[in-house]
């Protein structure tokens, strides 16, 4: 979290190089600009409403952060989301009781993650290639099983997962906060968390030091699959529709949020606090642009550019520091 401060002594340079503070500043700047553009933007109601949309990206970003810290990547999360959504929807349509269908969906997400993990660890393939393959495979299975059709005949109680409110607070925001705390504890307070950083810094050295590299990696891809499963159930419940094109392009949002949050694509660096800020920035930007009436095509373009700028600045500053 404070990797930057270690090299520099002065108080001013400490502030300058704390990435989380910079991100917080960016977030505040965006909020100010957006609230000038749209009167409804800076309201608690709008924030809580926005949170319904970023929780899905946020949950997956938590897993992705850990994967990226180990210098891996998972391009298949959007496709996995579609697969889970189709498993839930179509097993329900096929007569499986909905609670069981939900469990099946989450298990499918987990299984997809394990599948990624096994390929990465057992064959020692680069995760980029594996998840590019599963990016196509999972999406294809989702289209295939659903025959490119959609299910939206869910009973009313299913809406609970994605539309429930506790007072003014959306239910999924609570889920997200719990997940953030859990993953933060895992990464910063446990031996497993140290392993994750160790693998990212130098995998070979970690292996020689007795870190169970393969098992840690497998757990990360599996865990991310599980998070995708949860996120997908929330998503299907929120939009009341299960279909094969769910989560299209989701991997871009997620990866952008994580690298914006300061995780190095080369591994070894990254934090949950940074990722959460990254998610908030992207969500705020999207919400603000939407309220300001900017067409969604612009958003696609901006997100692509944002990803590139974020990675560039990350690596640029890192090089400056030596």
């Amino acid at each position: 979290m404070s990797q930057y401060t270690e090299t520099s002594g002065g108080f001013l340079s400490r502030i300058k190089f704390s990435r989380e503070l910079v991100l917080l500043g960016v977030l505040i700047a965006i909020v100010i600009v957006m609230s000038l553009l749209s009167p409804v933007f800076l309201t608690l109601g709008n924030f809580l409403n926005t949170s319904r949309y970023f929780v899905e990206i946020g949950l997956i970003s938590l897993g992705m952060t850990l994967i990226i810290i180990t210098s891996g990547i998972d391009l298949s999360v959007g496709s996995n989301m579609a697969l889970v959504s189709v498993v839930v929807g179509f097993s329900f349509l096929g007569g499986v009781p909905l609670p069981l269908a939900i469990v099946l969906g989450v298990v499918a997400g987990l299984a997809a993650g394990v599948f990624n993990g096994l390929f990465v660890t057992m064959l020692d393939l680069h995760p980029l290639v594996v998840t590019l393959g599963t990016f196509a495979l999972f999406r294809g299975l989702a289209y295939g099983f659903s025959d490119a059709d959609a299910v939206s005949s869910f009973p009313a109680w299913f809406a609970y997962f994605g539309q429930a409110y506790f007072g003014p607070v959306p239910g999924q925001l609570i889920v997200f906060v719990v997940a953030v705390v859990a993953v933060w504890l895992l990464l910063s307070r446990t031996r497993f968390g140290r392993y994750v950083y160790a693998i990212g810094h130098n995998e070979e050295a970690a292996r020689f030091s007795g870190v169970p590299v393969q098992r840690v990696k497998l757990a990360l891809y599996a865990g991310t699959g599980l998070l995708v499963g949860l996120a997908s159930v929330i998503y299907v419940s929120r939009v009341s529709t299960a279909r094969g094109d769910a989560g299209l392009g989701l991997e871009l949002d997620v990866i952008a949020a994580v690298v914006l949050g300061g995780a190095s694509i080369y591994g070894g660096k990254g934090s949950i606090a940074g990722t959460v800020l990254g998610v908030l920035i992207i969500a705020t930007l999207r919400n603000g642009l939407l309220l300001a009436g900017v067409p969604s095509t612009w958003q696609l373009f901006l997100l692509g550019v944002l990803l590139l700028v974020a990675v560039f600045l990350n690596e640029f500053f890192r090089r400056e520091e030596g």
């Binding site: 064959l123 290639v129 393959g133 495979l137 990866i255």
Partner: protein, 330 residues
């Protein structure tokens, strides 16, 4: 590089069979042959000149781009932005064609837009030193965004006949796209065998650090590979619009996966440094045969992505296993 030359000497003393099996595209070629035999027996209408020509015509766009992406992969990088790039190039070429630019300027528009996009990729990878997967993932969305912004979602229709020649024309009784594909294949094969750049690409992909130490232009070798992809996409886009006769804003969606699949299924190693031009071509034809076979066997098109994904995974796993079996740790 010394390791590479020793293995090559050892291989020369092996038998012809083992030597040809060690070729990168060997498994794909065998698989292709087996598939053709099976489909000839099982699927009605597979065996025939018109179906073969149809398959080839379909894989031309994938094949041309795969020949260029093959160079990027050989150099140890990756490019997954080609789908959106094709859309943008097709739109630029289509707009010029409809405005009455004639074939030359239509082609020029496609190639220039492609080359610029490719140069942006190359710049970000080599100068800004952002990993290629991130660059081209970002560009996949950014370029599609540019396309939607510029056109506002409108189609380009009513392409004049003379600008469609590259897509639907024929010469010597063979359709022009197929001739272009094979011509470009020969050009790329010559480039890889006889040009400094071709050698550099392989060296850089095989061992980046050694290439730096040997004083090879590591940055430029990769930069030009990305530009080449842009140029290839530009050429392919004119064939694409020639065949379609119109351009939609979703042109080329998902193409990047088929291209990557073609390259790795063909036998070019995704970790760079190992592969061949023939691998990219074989991979493209193989994908064409598989998609064609799926149609003939009545497998619904919705399974296409799943088959593609499974094939990519199969190909990269085979690559790993084969390297272990051959004991070639290059």
């Amino acid at each position: 590089m010394s390791g590479v030359s020793t293995t090559r000497v050892e291989k020369r003393s092996d038998g012809l069979l083992r030597r040809s099996m060690a070729r990168p595209e060997a498994p794909a070629l065998i698989f292709l042959l087996a598939l053709v035999i099976v489909l000839s027996v099982v699927a009605d209408g597979f065996l025939g000149t018109s179906n073969f020509e149809g398959i080839l015509a379909q894989v031309v766009v994938i094949g041309i781009i795969a020949l260029a992406v093959n160079q990027v992969v050989l150099s140890g990088e990756i490019d997954i932005s080609t789908g959106s790039m094709l859309g943008l190039c097709a739109m630029a070429a289509g707009t010029v064609a409809v405005a009455g630019g004639g074939l030359f300027f239509t082609l020029l528009a496609g190639v220039v837009v492609g080359a610029i996009s490719g140069a942006v990729n190359g710049f970000l990878v080599t100068v800004a030193r952002i990993p290629a997967i991130i660059v081209t993932l970002g560009m996949l969305y950014a370029l599609r965004g540019v396309l939607l912004l510029v056109t506002g979602g409108d189609w380009v229709t009513g392409l004049p006949a003379e600008t469609r020649v590259l897509g639907i024309g024929s010469a010597f009784g063979v359709s022009l796209p197929i001739i272009i594909l094979f011509a470009l294949f020969i050009v790329m094969e010559l480039v890889n065998r006889h040009s400094d750049w071709g050698r550099n690409v392989l060296a850089v992909g095989g061992n980046r650090r050694a290439s730096v130490l040997a004083g090879l232009p590591v940055g430029w070798a990769r930069f030009w590979a990305f530009v080449l992809v842009g140029v290839a996409v530009g050429i392919a886009s004119v064939i694409y619009i020639g065949r379609a006769g119109s351009v939609q804003t979703n042109a080329g969606t998902g193409l990047e996966l088929q291209v990557i699949a073609a390259v790795v299924i063909g036998g070019t190693s995704i970790s760079g440094g190992r592969g061949s031009t023939l691998a990219a071509l074989t991979g493209a034809v193989l994908i064409g045969v598989i998609l064609n076979g799926m149609v003939l066997l009545g497998i619904p098109g919705v399974w296409q992505d799943a088959v593609l994904g499974a094939l990519i995974l199969l190909a990269v796993s085979t690559d790993v296993l084969r390297r272990k079996l051959l004991g070639d740790k290059a």
